[in-house]
Symmetry: C2
């Protein structure tokens, strides 16, 4: 016993000495040192610790300091104290790393590809830091105290008011603040709408034959069956809608093939919803970005009681803000809020107030205009580069949005995508977006996100793209 | 036909005139005016619009402006154009408000109660606006461009690193950044852990017999069966754990009854988890606020492979930020990230970077210390007020946290809660927090959140509280 204690004491002493040389109170340093010694395994489970007075004398600290330390570590479960058997290292303090500690998964996009032409994100280097910070400052300074208390699950009224005005003006959406629910983006909106037994919508849900895979996965996880609608040059064939409960459309700019939904199809979709009691989910993911004419207004404006309009700042500002909105028919408002949960505001309140200020102050319009200009130039450069280097490749879906579709000769998509990987050009083939149950023809093509690279990197990305296209 | 047109023209003309007097291009003004006229019902469905040239002449605009406007509104579905029948107002443009438009539900807490002693929120007026803004500015200025691109679902590495250090230092949590997942608060963490078929945990889940109702509801929605564990003065009777898969505990400060989990119970919980392959969910909701001695360290430190440690800034800073964290065993990391979804970062990236800066710069510690001081004074005032005005009422659970429990004479809780409503004192009775299947005795009591009121309002709230207590 004496031996084992002497050994421990030496080891503890050394550790403690090292630690206690640091700043701060002696007691805290002693607690840290002992914890560390147990953690690292240098003090093995079951080891008996020295009596207070010995350790206190050894270390030159008050006896109470040691007594407090032991009590603290007993309370935390590092040590055990039993009448008559003294203080010992607890059996259960398992060292970290006893199990595998190697991270199994690299964080996605930790290191970006050399040329990033993936669709879906705006140029991250163009985030309007100064203007956003100015809005943040104003928002934080002007916020009432209650803004820092528990939030309204619908989101801040300031933001819902700003959005009501903005969406009416810019997107032709007809609503009022009471029908807007703030969320963290389109996927969150889908989750809320189809949230288990509490959700306001149920499947089957008609979707476009081409769309985002992660939306389909999310719906599958929520046990929502999706039924693919064929597409033609006028958009989704909504005439094929039948007994589905809802239809998910991208009317402003079909994702990813690129055209707007034809007016007659818009009308037919609304007619279907009215006749069948169905609902249209309008994914207005890039409605602000239309280059050759005014944006096409939202379908929601045709019948606010039949359309759930969903938008976000993910394309217009940054997906990093996690800020979006749902404009919902009156009868769904309570259900969506219930799904959201009363204690969860989900989107940061300072950010909501900042976006409200950003919109009201005109910064949002200015930023969208600036980016529209910039993306238009990029689109034109893409078209020009292809005309020069690959005149046989048709570019479509370029009237709007942040991406284009390059039609490829039949049977070549897979090899072009492989060549792109080889050349470190990140982009997706059309097949990536196809609903597994789609029956329409499967054209070969590439989806090229021309907004993604930073401004200085765009030229090189275009060159690399042209290099992987099949010869004419 | 001519008549109906003349009437429409007059009405349109008037509207257009009004609208077109505003700034901006004529075409936009004309579109707005026509949309409004259809929206409001002044232009009834089916009404035929004048030919381009008539309207152009009437309004003094170019003929092309009218043609463009009609085309735009046809594209949006407001108007229809058919060969030979001219342009008409579409049948389906339903005016907003055809259905009930009265908001059915006032936003919760839109107007606060006169005296707010509800548990669960820090003093909203104490949010450290200046220090937070300083961190936000630094974070926004120093963020790399990729921060504004698609995020890592685990959360920003900067924040996970800061939390690793902070949680080790302040809470005795042993982890590494790769095992931390950022979320928007405790409820979000629960959702992620029990997320449908993809969740890493399944029920039954043992819970404390007293706890938050909205956690129970959330679990019920996720089809997780909860089994109540009785409580005594040492915390949850973890010796009664059996075949449950997991247990949810509030070890630092039982919510709401108020004591820390006894060291022997901590040890027993870990033993149970090891023996049965179970998991402990540690809700460390107010671990920073301990008044009479150093905080009790986290149970997680005893066995990082058996404990999921969950915390947030909701009590320490504000629930409005929606920022929390989960420290998860290695084997659950991938599952939790999968449940989170690759495209959803959920918590705003600028806010994550801000919190990282706030912690690393020492602002977080300073704020917690300041608030600890302030809340301790409030607690002492509460105890003193009760000693003077209601010496027969025992106060418990006051060593830590932002609330106290007032034990009431048997059978009086309900009437005291009613009296409180009458006196506009918002607080909850203990019954509010009781698991419906709990079998332990049901003491009468009040849960008093002494952190909630603003500083200047606290005295009046205390007076009002004393006024509703039963006579001795």
């Amino acid at each position: 016993m004496a031996d084992s204690w002497v050994n421990s004491a030496e080891r503890i002493g050394a550790d403690l000495h090292l630690e206690m040389a640091g700043a701060g109170p002696r007691r805290a340093a002693l607690i840290r040192a002992l914890r560390e010694a147990v953690r690292s395994g240098r003090l093995a489970p079951g080891t008996r610790l020295p009596p207070y007075r010995s350790l206190a004398a050894d270390l030159g600290v008050a006896r109470n300091t040691v007594a407090d330390t032991y009590a603290e570590l007993v309370a935390e479960g590092w040590l055990t104290a039993r009448q008559g058997s003294g203080t010992r290292v607890a059996e259960r303090a398992e060292p970290l790393g006893a199990h595998a500690r190697v991270p199994t998964k690299a964080p996605p996009r930790a290191r970006g590809p050399r040329h990033d032409l993936r669709q879906g994100t705006p140029d991250a280097s163009s985030f309007p830091r100064a203007a956003w910070l100015a809005s943040y400052r104003r928002a934080l300074q002007q916020a009432p105290n209650e803004a820092f208390g528990p939030g309204d699950p619908a989101g801040r009224i300031e933001l819902r008011r700003a959005l009501t005005e903005y969406l009416a003006r810019a997107r032709g959406v007809r609503t009022e603040p009471e029908r807007i629910v703030i969320c963290s983006g389109f996927a969150h909106a889908l989750r809320l709408l189809f949230a288990g037994t509490g959700g306001v919508l149920r499947g089957p849900l008609a979707v476009e034959s081409y769309g985002l895979g992660f939306h389909r996965e999310l719906l599958a996880t929520a046990a929502v069956r999706t039924v693919p609608l064929p597409l033609d040059e006028d958009g989704a064939l909504v005439g094929e809608l039948g007994r589905e409960r809802a239809v998910l459309l991208t009317p402003a700019h079909q994702f990813p093939t690129g055209g707007p939904l034809h007016p007659s199809r818009r009308a037919a979709a609304v007619d279907w919803a009215r006749a069948r009691g169905g609902v249209i989910l309008e994914d207005d993911y890039d409605g602000e970005f239309r280059y050759d004419r005014k944006p096409v207004g939202a379908v929601q404006g045709l019948d606010p009681e039949r359309v759930i309009h969903i938008g976000s700042v993910s394309k217009s500002l940054s997906p990093a803000l996690r800020l979006g909105w749902m404009v919902v028919p009156e009868r769904y408002v309570d259900g969506v809020l219930a799904a959201k949960g009363e204690r969860e505001a989900w989107a940061s309140v300072p950010d909501q107030l900042t976006l409200a200020d950003f919109i009201v102050s005109g910064s949002y319009d200015r930023h969208v205009r600036r980016m529209r200009q910039r993306y238009r130039v990029r689109r034109d450069r893409l078209v020009a580069a292809l005309a020069t280097h690959a005149p046989h490749v048709e570019v479509t879906g370029i009237a709007a949005g942040l991406h284009a579709v390059l039609r490829l000769p039949p049977g070549t998509e897979q090899s072009v995508v492989k060549a792109a990987v080889w050349q470190e050009v990140a982009l997706d083939g059309l097949a990536e977006f196809r609903h597994p149950a789609a029956t329409m023809s499967a054209p070969d093509g590439l989806v090229v996100g021309y907004a993604t690279p930073a401004e200085h990197a765009y030229g090189a990305a275009l060159d690399a793209l042209c290099g992987v296209l099949p010869p004419g």
